[in-house]
Symmetry: C2
Subunit: 340 residues, 2 copies
């Protein structure tokens, strides 16, 4: 059963294709004919074929957004920002999840490119291996040459595109200072997959600031796992198994911190009584944990909004525009002064 086409509508309204097209697109047409076309279209439940339309030159309205994992509150919040701006601009969003697989990420870019999406947004940490940046650039460059718009969030290396950069490094450093200020000297870190650049930024910022204060982080006090709740649980459990003697744990993401809470509880340790915990991101739920989590707040919605806005605003010279968004330490009850 084929779809109703413009030709059907034109025939039903007894006008030419051109007139039907113009009437439907609000171009000047005698009111009389205009009404006849609209009536026919309604009667036939006509919906224009977006592909034909796109092919014939009309720009189309679905932007692509690629993130690592929609079920992660961090990405959900950023995507929420993207969608808000998209909705305001009457744009449809195609959201894809890569599950942190760089190959899948590239495959999605390729699909979006094939769709001739007017814009592609990449949300989330890049990968350390330069091979992926090269492969990505190979996809992105012809896309940009073809007039496509690209904006990325939280990924800065080697990609000459508009970027929204949360202050991962500075935020982690600020957190380190705050924690040092509370008197902590022995730290543990729940780190994420080392192939992600965000890990290097946050971990590096934290460690360097500690070092500047003369505090070193022993490798034994660092555990690496997935950026998930269960990853956090696992990493914390591992550290505990090693006989941890830290007074404060820094989880590279709030989601991991949630898992850490559970692991600590399962070991009969209280937060912050036995150990302080800090996270990063300020996803909405951490305010409702017991105790509320100290973290580095990122303006999550704004990250998405800004990225969408960048992709929407003209950039004639194709200069790389960078929008840095501040990270701010939020002290809550999960951290307390270190005991003497």
């Amino acid at each position: 059963m084929p779809h109703v086409t413009l030709e059907d509508v034109a025939r039903a309204a007894d006008v030419s294709l051109a007139t039907a097209s113009r009437a439907l697109n609000g171009r000047r047409v005698t009111p009389h004919l205009h009404d006849r076309v609209l009536a026919a279209a309604a009667r036939l439940a006509y919906t224009p074929n977006a592909h034909a339309r796109a092919l014939a030159g009309a720009s189309h309205r679905s932007v692509g957004v690629i993130c690592h994992d929609v079920t992660d509150p961090y990405f959900a919040a950023v995507a929420g920002g993207v969608m808000r701006v998209a909705a305001d601009n009457d744009l449809l969003v195609m959201l894809a999840s890569t599950f942190r697989d760089p190959e899948r990420e590239i495959a999605y870019v390729s699909m979006l490119r094939a769709e001739r999406a007017p814009a592609i947004l990449l949300i989330g940490s890049g990968f350390e291996d330069p091979r992926w940046d090269r492969a990505l650039a190979a996809e992105l460059t012809p896309y940009l040459d073809g007039g496509g718009r690209v904006a990325v969030v939280s990924r800065h290396r080697n990609l000459k595109v508009d970027s929204v950069l949360p202050e991962n490094r500075a935020g982690a450093a600020a957190l380190a200072r705050a924690l040092l200020g509370l008197g902590h000297r022995r730290f543990a870190v729940l780190s994420g997959p080392s192939e992600l650049t965000t890990v290097a930024d946050r971990f590096g910022g934290f460690r360097d600031e500690l070092a500047a204060a003369g505090v070193t982080l022993s490798p034994a006090a660092v555990a690496e796992a997935e950026f998930t709740r269960d990853g956090g649980y696992q990493a914390m459990t591992e550290l505990l198994g090693r006989g941890l003697d830290a007074t404060c744990v820094f989880a590279l993401t709030d989601v991991m911190a949630v898992g850490a809470y559970a692991a600590l509880r399962d070991h009969g340790l209280s937060v912050p009584g036995d150990i302080s915990v800090a996270g990063f991101d300020d996803i909405p739920i951490v305010r409702d944990l017991t105790p509320p989590l100290t973290t580095v707040a990122l303006p999550l919605r704004q990250l998405g909004e800004k990225a969408m806005e960048l992709a929407l605003t003209e950039n004639p010279g194709r200069r790389r525009r960078i929008s840095r968004l501040p990270a701010e330490v939020v002290l809550r009850a999960s951290t307390s002064p270190a005991r003497a």
Copy 2:
């Protein structure tokens, strides 16, 4: 700057358009020419135009998913299931958020229809007002006639399409029984927007089961708000302001329960010491609340997976297939026996 087209590739490889197309699509072509075409395509960074392709008859690969709010963990989890199955089938998903606006929902269906998406999934409660179902049906029917596939999750009225139905009513009833079993007799309910059918199902199932046990729910013990964390906070606060004397609160969604926890804490009440709390959905985070939340567990991922599977499997007679997924009461520490 126009895109590289198949014609460019054909010319570069010195073959006809048809041959280039065949080579790229893995049809039988002399190995010699085949290689030449692929080499040329790679050299030119050719990406086929999905629109032209779709127009020319090749089916295309992006299914549409419409949900109420991607930032809500419930939808995020369901969407995660959808994406998993979609990824396995090499499908791109276009995810849209309606923010619970029925007009926007219909607008999205229309856009997706225009895109000739092979399938459309509607995730989340429908609206009570039959007007919306009619408007939706008016969009969906021609889409189905045109060979489109539709599956819905958690929306059962009046829509003759494949459905995945969580046992909202039965689940709420089972929860009521469990709570009665704990000795509770005075209940309060944090309800959601009354225009959502899910509200009627859950609330109705709960209330009717209570009634069957001779327990009535006074209107004063019911507060209505948005299905959000803040909505839950607000509804709970309102109830508290009214001088609540319930021993147990049922929040229609877990997300609302999170807000209720906060409101209770702000009023100096402890859970379950002063009052028991139960939710619905079993979103991942509620296990990590303090205390862990008693709730009605829905297989969230599966809801999405099943819906995607339904939309993917042939349905020759276009019969309405219904897949009912069970809801299960999970008792955790947020509920305790009622004090005598």
